[in-house]
């Protein structure tokens, strides 16, 4: 079921984004999302626009959290340190320096 998968992924992302990863139970967003899931649970088997919308919003929020996390990771890796040394640049593109052993 797509809904459960999205829920698990959302909670995972929220835990990673939180300032204090241990306190996910007190997190407003997690509690809100769980409440929403409870609310729309009744319409599980029916063709219901609201449920599709709830899932769509869940997926969108999941995309938001995960994209932002990956963006931050990439930024930290590549863009946050200013200019690189010649050695670092060579390592980045898989080249060797003339001084390196063959």
């Amino acid at each position: 079921m797509a809904g459960t998968k999205v829920l698990r992924a959302l909670l995972h992302e929220l835990r990673q984004a939180a300032h204090d990863p241990g306190s996910i139970k007190n997190s407003l967003a997690a509690r809100y999302i769980l409440a929403q899931y409870k609310k729309f649970e009744t319409t599980d088997q029916q063709l219901c626009k609201a449920r599709n919308e709830a899932i769509f919003l869940g997926q969108t929020y999941l995309t938001y959290l995960s994209s932002l996390r990956k963006y931050n990771a990439l930024y930290k890796d590549y863009h946050s340190r200013g200019e690189r040394t010649v050695k670092e640049t060579a390592d980045l593109v898989g080249f060797k320096l003339p001084t390196d052993p063959k």
């Binding site: 939180a18 407003l28 626009k49 609201a50 995309t63 932002l68 200019e83």
Partner: protein, 278 residues
């Protein structure tokens, strides 16, 4: 007279030589203002008569303009509170897209009216990414036809317009009737919602894709992939560079997702119909 001039010059020279000229260190090529420190421990949401507010410890969150932060939708306030809670040591305001959108909508720093934004969006139609296709390269053309044409068709059906793609540099002709129809749809959104809409269109460089993703026809990832279609195609030949391609892709996805959430939360009353439990 000339003696004072000479002594002044001497003094200036002495001062300038006494200031040690620091070579800029490698780590700091350019000096930006440091982001503010995280000064709060917990974030929370307050429910008042006028709407929802966000608190940082005991302080109420304010917009950059100094206005109190107040939104109509609860999930939006929760998303903002979560975003502030997610800041580590510093508050990185440039990476808080949902908060930034709320702030822009509340402050409206450019004093835009609904008409301004609708006109801006209408002018975008003639330069929509998906309307400009390229037939010199067979594979690319096929890709564009398979991926973009269904969405143009969907758009034409949904808004009863007649947008045509173009195969060269001349922009497609958009008739006044079509413009009126699109304007009518855009006018039905509130001013705050239109801020989100403009943000989505600016991210995707396409009104067709933005409408499709806000209408839940395609997911956010797919919309971003479609707006970067040619880039993705060229990547197959020239290679994928993580710090440029992935970087921009993740940023566009985050921005678009923020815009879509913002639009939905701002007009969710008429979209989510709660089912009464028997």
């Amino acid at each position: 007279m000339s003696a004072t001039l000479i002594t002044n010059t001497m003094r200036l020279l002495r001062i300038s030589s006494s200031i040690k000229w620091h070579m800029p260190t490698i780590a700091a090529v350019r000096q930006y203002a440091t982001p503010p420190k995280r000064f709060y421990k917990t974030t929370n949401v307050l429910c008042t008569d006028a709407g929802y507010e966000v608190t940082l410890d005991h302080r109420k969150l304010k917009t950059p303009n100094g206005a109190p932060f107040m939104v109509k939708s609860e999930p939006l306030a929760i998303a903002v509170a979560t975003e502030f809670d997610g800041q580590k040591d510093h508050i990185e305001r440039s990476r808080m897209h949902i908060s930034a959108l709320c702030f822009t909508a509340i402050d409206n720093p450019n004093k835009l009216t609904k008409l301004d934004m609708v006109n801006y969006l209408l002018n975008f139609v003639a330069t929509d990414t998906v309307l400009f296709q390229y037939d010199d390269e067979k594979d690319l053309q096929e890709l564009q036809r398979n991926e973009w044409d269904p969405l143009i068709e969907w758009f034409n059906q949904r808004f009863e317009t007649n947008l045509q793609k173009t195969m060269n540099i001349t922009p497609p002709q958009v008739s006044e009737v079509d413009k009126m129809k699109i304007a009518k749809h855009l006018q039905s959104y509130s001013l705050e919602t239109l801020h989100g809409f403009v943000f989505a269109v600016d991210t995707l460089k396409s009104i067709v894709l933005a409408c499709a993703v806000i209408d839940q026809q395609i997911t956010v990832e797919r919309a971003v992939a479609l707006s970067r279609l040619e880039e993705e195609y060229q990547l197959k030949f020239w290679g994928r560079v993580e710090w440029a391609h992935d970087f921009s892709q993740q940023e566009l996805q985050a921005r678009l997702a923020a815009a879509v959430l913002f639009v939905h939360f701002n007009c969710s009353e008429n979209l989510i119909k709660e089912k009464s439990i028997l």
